[in-house]
């Protein structure tokens, strides 16, 4: 079974709106990472949040981490059509990262 699970599986919004996707995990972590994957391409690392951090920002991205609930959220503000992609959370365990099945985000122009 997957360590990380993203929710929702699919999300469709209008350009300019905010998109929020969530990740739940099962075991204790040192850090949690979010990745983006455009169709037919490899994954691109977006942001890493450490277990002692509660919130982190990078441009239009905001990530939160709640270790007590074993969950994280990724917020994309002022979405653009180019944000259309699948988003994955990953949690490194014993040197390797485990990915969920992702949230597929569609931003309509």
């Amino acid at each position: 079974s997957q360590q990380g699970e993203e929710d929702p599986q699919a999300l469709s919004i209008q350009e300019g709106e905010n998109a929020t996707m969530n990740c739940s995990y099962k075991t204790s972590i040192n850090n949690l990472q979010w990745y983006r994957q455009n169709s037919g391409r490899g994954l691109v690392h977006l942001i890493l949040i450490r277990s002692n951090e509660r919130e982190k920002h990078s441009g239009r991205l905001r990530v939160t981490l709640d270790t007590s609930k074993k969950s994280s959220s990724l917020l994309i503000t002022a979405s653009r059509a180019a944000d259309t992609a699948s988003y994955f959370c990953a949690t490194p365990i014993a040197g390797k990262s485990t990915f969920g099945d992702g949230t597929t985000l569609t931003v309509k122009p």
């Binding site: 990745y35 490194p92 040197g95």
Partner: protein
């Protein structure tokens, strides 16, 4: 190079054929990972190397799968006697410190 390079980009193999997938990581990256991604799913861990040492191969689905990184740089994932269920995208990633991976674009393997 500037990124992780994988070749070939696409591979069609007849069932029973052996295939070899190549990964050129970013120069100096100690860690190298192989993942398998089925359509509509997240990447599934196959194996990882630290330099030339294969530290974890627990994700390899069968003994038909073999990976090597003999000089601690380029890695090859070999699949023997391919079967239809091996059809997937095979992703390679490298990292200097396990804290953020750089992925290649993957090799899409189709077994017919």
């Amino acid at each position: 190079g500037a990124g992780v390079s994988q070749s070939p980009r696409y591979k069609v193999a007849k069932r029973g054929q052996d295939v070899a997938l190549r990964c050129d990581p970013i120069s100096g990256h100690v860690s190298l990972f192989w993942y398998q991604q089925a359509l509509g799913q997240g990447p599934e861990f196959l194996t990882y190397f630290q330099n030339e040492a294969q530290l974890d191969k627990s994700g390899l689905p069968s003994d038909r799968f073999f990976a090597e990184r003999p000089e601690g740089s380029v890695s090859t994932l070999k699949i023997q006697r391919t079967q239809q269920e091996d059809s997937a995208v095979y992703l390679c990633a490298s990292s200097p410190n396990n804290y953020g991976y750089t992925f290649g674009s993957g090799t899409r393997l189709t077994v017919v």
